[in-house]
C-alpha cells in the first residue's frame, strides 16, 4: 500500500476508534440517566427518586389486577424480588395483563403506593402461534408437577 493511502487508512481507523472511546466514556458516565425505568426492587430499596415522577418497569403480578369503579385499576408490579402496588385511572393498552411486562410512570406516595399517570405495556421478544403457546404452557405445567409441584 502506498504511504499516503496507508496514512489515510490509519487516520480513519484512529478517528473511529477515538470517537468510539469518547462515546463509550460518555455513555458510561450517563448510565443512570439512560435508564428508561427502575425495577421494583430498586424502588423498594429507595434508589428511585421520590420528589418527582419516574418510571417503574416489571411484570404485572399474577392475580393482582383489581378493577375498581369506572377505569380505576389496582395491580402489583414485580420483578421477582420485590413488588410495588400501583394505582391507575385510565385506559390500559391492549397487551396489558397479568404476567405481562409493563412500564408505569408516576409518583411514589409515602405509604409505598405508586400512583401512575401512564401505563405502557412492554412486549417481549417471543413470537409464536396460540397453539404453540398453549402447548408450551402445558409443557411447563407438566414439568413443575413432575418436579414436585413447585
Amino acid at each position: 500500500m502506498k504511504p499516503a493511502r496507508r496514512n489515510r487508512l490509519i487516520l480513519v481507523l484512529l478517528l473511529v476508534g477515538g470517537v468510539g472511546v469518547a462515546v463509550a466514556l460518555m455513555l458510561s458516565a450517563f448510565r443512570e440517566n439512560m435508564l428508561y425505568f427502575y425495577p421494583p426492587s430498586q424502588v423498594v430499596s429507595g434508589e428511585a427518586p421520590t420528589g418527582y415522577p419516574f418510571r417503574m418497569g416489571g411484570m404485572v403480578a399474577d392475580g393482582s389486577v383489581r378493577h375498581g369503579e369506572g377505569v380505576n385499576v389496582h395491580f402489583q408490579v414485580t420483578d421477582g424480588g420485590a413488588s410495588v402496588p400501583v394505582r391507575y385511572e385510565g385506559v390500559l393498552p391492549d397487551l396489558f395483563g397479568e404476567g405481562q411486562g409493563v412500564v408505569v410512570r408516576g409518583r411514589l406516595s409515602a405509604d409505598g403506593t405508586f400512583t401512575a399517570e401512564e401505563v405502557l405495556a412492554k412486549h417481549d421478544e417471543n413470537y409464536m402461534p396460540p397453539e404453540v403457546a398453549d402447548a408450551m404452557k402445558d409443557g411447563k405445567a407438566a414439568q413443575t408437577v413432575s418436579e414436585g409441584g413447585e
Partner: protein
C-alpha cells in the same frame, strides 16, 4: 477477484456492469416481495398475544435492519473513497444515503403505528428509539453536507468523515436494548441463542429481509449509475454512452 474489483473502480466499466445487474436483482426483489408478503400476511399464523397486529414486523424489522446495514455500507464506501480516492466508491456512498434514510423513516413510522395499540404510546424516549432517530439525523446530515459543497470530490471527502464517525451509533442501536432498560423488547433473531420466533413466522421475515436487500441493491446500483453520468458528464465515455443510447 482483485482485478475484477479494480475494474469496477473504472466508471465506464461500472456503469455497464451495474446496468446489466440492476434489473436482474430488481426482478429477484419483486419475486421475494411477492412471496414474502403472501407468506407473511396470509400464510403465517397469528401471534398468541398480539393477534394480527404483529404482522407489521414483516415490514418493520427488515426496514430497521436495512437502516443499519445501509449505513455501514455507506460508511464503508465513503471510507474507501476517502482512503483510496476511488470515484466510484464516493458515488456509491452518496447514492446509498437517501435509501438508508427512507428505511430509517419506514422503521420509525411502522414502529410508531405498532407502538400505539401495543405499548399504549406513539413514541417514548428510550435508548432504542432515540438512537434510531439519531441514525435518521446522521443520514440527513450526511445528505445535507454532501449537497452543500459544490465540488463533488470535496463534498465526498467532507461528508465521508461524518459518515465514518456516525458508525459508532450502529452498535449502540443494536445493543441499546441490552445495555439499558428500554420499552423496546430485546432482539428476537439477531442473538446468540436460537431465534425466539416460531419457524412459520421466521421464514416470511427472512424472505422479506432478503427482498429488502435485493430492492436496495437494485435501486442503489441504478442511483449510482445516474450519479456517475451526471458527475462524469464532460468525459468522453459518457458522451459515447449518450450517443449510443439516443441512437
Amino acid at each position: 477477484m482483485w482485478t475484477w474489483f479494480h475494474r469496477l473502480g473504472s466508471p465506464p466499466y461500472f456503469y455497464e456492469w451495474a446496468g446489466r445487474w440492476a434489473p436482474r436483482i430488481g426482478v429477484l426483489a419483486a419475486l421475494l416481495f411477492a412471496w414474502g408478503l403472501y407468506d407473511g400476511l396470509v400464510l403465517a399464523p397469528t401471534d398468541y398475544k398480539q393477534g394480527e397486529s404483529y404482522r407489521i414486523i414483516f415490514i418493520h424489522v427488515p426496514a430497521a435492519w436495512m437502516s443499519m446495514m445501509v449505513y455501514v455500507t455507506m460508511a464503508v464506501s465513503a471510507a474507501i473513497g476517502l482512503i483510496w480516492r476511488m470515484k466510484v466508491a464516493e458515488v456509491m456512498a452518496r447514492a446509498a444515503a437517501p435509501l438508508g434514510a427512507w428505511f430509517t423513516v419506514l422503521a420509525l413510522v411502522t414502529g410508531s403505528l405498532w407502538g400505539k395499540p401495543m405499548w399504549g404510546t406513539w413514541w417514548v424516549w428510550d435508548a432504542r428509539l432515540t438512537s434510531e432517530l439519531l441514525l435518521l439525523f446522521l443520514y440527513l446530515g450526511y445528505i445535507a453536507l454532501n449537497a452543500a459543497i459544490e465540488e463533488p470530490r470535496q463534498a465526498a471527502r467532507a461528508s465521508a468523515v461524518l459518515a465514518v464517525v456516525g458508525v459508532v451509533n450502529i452498535p449502540i442501536i443494536h445493543f441499546s436494548v441490552e445495555w439499558w432498560n428500554t420499552l423496546h423488547q430485546g432482539p428476537t433473531v439477531t442473538r446468540l441463542d436460537a431465534p425466539a420466533i416460531n419457524i412459520a413466522m421466521f421464514l416470511p421475515l427472512i424472505t422479506m429481509a432478503l427482498a429488502f436487500m435485493a430492492y436496495f441493491a437494485a435501486v442503489w446500483l441504478m442511483r449510482a449509475r445516474g450519479e456517475l453520468l451526471e458527475r462524469e458528464r464532460r468525459s468522453r465515455w459518457v458522451q459515447r454512452v449518450v450517443a449510443e443510447e439516443s441512437g
